[in-house]
């Protein structure tokens, strides 16, 4: 998506990216970026929170108007879970001793299924 933003900018169209995967967007490099530190899925605000969605969308518009150079990132002030904001971060794509074996097995299973599908495709000719 950031590559598309860059292409539009190169063609003379101003853009702003709204997102929650800060490192992915900033490594690719975009002109304007509204970063909200939320779990992936709701970069424009929490479900049913119209006021927050309006504030985050408004920040994107502010950036369109006011950013004067590329790589302008603004982080919105919102917190996903004020009581335990590290829980979702640690849970997502977790790898530790409790699931390491299960992940390895899941990977083996997926590769076996892919190999079967490929062989079946060959047999069908």
């Amino acid at each position: 998506m950031s590559l598309v933003a860059r292409h539009l900018e190169e063609a003379g169209l101003p853009t702003v990216v709204m997102g929650s995967a800060r490192d992915i967007v900033e490594e690719c490099g975009v002109s304007r970026f509204v970063y909200t530190d939320f779990p992936l899925g709701n970069p424009v605000g929490k479900p049913d929170d119209v006021e927050m969605q309006m504030a985050i969308t408004g920040t994107a518009l502010d950036l369109l108007e006011r950013a004067w150079e590329p790589r302008t990132t603004v982080q919105t002030p919102f917190i996903w879970d004020a009581d335990s904001n590290d829980d979702w971060r640690e849970h997502f794509m977790k790898v530790d001793d409790t699931n390491r074996e299960a992940l390895a097995a899941a990977g083996d299973q997926r590769r076996a299924a892919q190999a079967d599908a490929k062989a079946e495709g060959r047999n069908r000719g």
Partner: protein, 169 residues
Amino acid sequence: MAADRRTHRSHVSYIDKSRNYYGAQGYPQAYQWSYNHDVPFTPLTKPLNECRIGLVTTSFFERKVDKAAVAGSATKEPYAARCDDALGGLYNKDLFWDKDTTHTDDLDTYLPINRLRELAEQGRIGSLAERFYGVPTDYSHRRTSRRDAPQILEFAQEDELDAVILVPL
């Protein structure tokens, strides 16, 4: 809020997480994320309240409604569709997001069509374009840069957009 101290950055690095996660599944070759030193920049040249704004999503459009109104046929190709036809929600199940923590039942949490229409009514922007665009997440930088991005630019030019908001899920 009281000051805090940490040994690690607080925001999640999805580049680090996904490398470790797929590595643990036995995929040794890490994904090569896009990196650029130089970044293009185009300033907005007219007042925002005279601008037509467009939206781009990574979500899929379920082509149940009026297929003739949708440009782009295959599911993994960029598309343009009417904002009105997105109001019932888009298809996100195949995308990479935190399905355990949240949901995407509220469209405006990832594609703020209603919020931008309200902002147009308030006079903050000129208008929201009648169409929005979709770009599938593609592992190939080449396909994204050479096929998808030029197609989105073409849609934007057809709709005479002044600025574009892109929202990856």
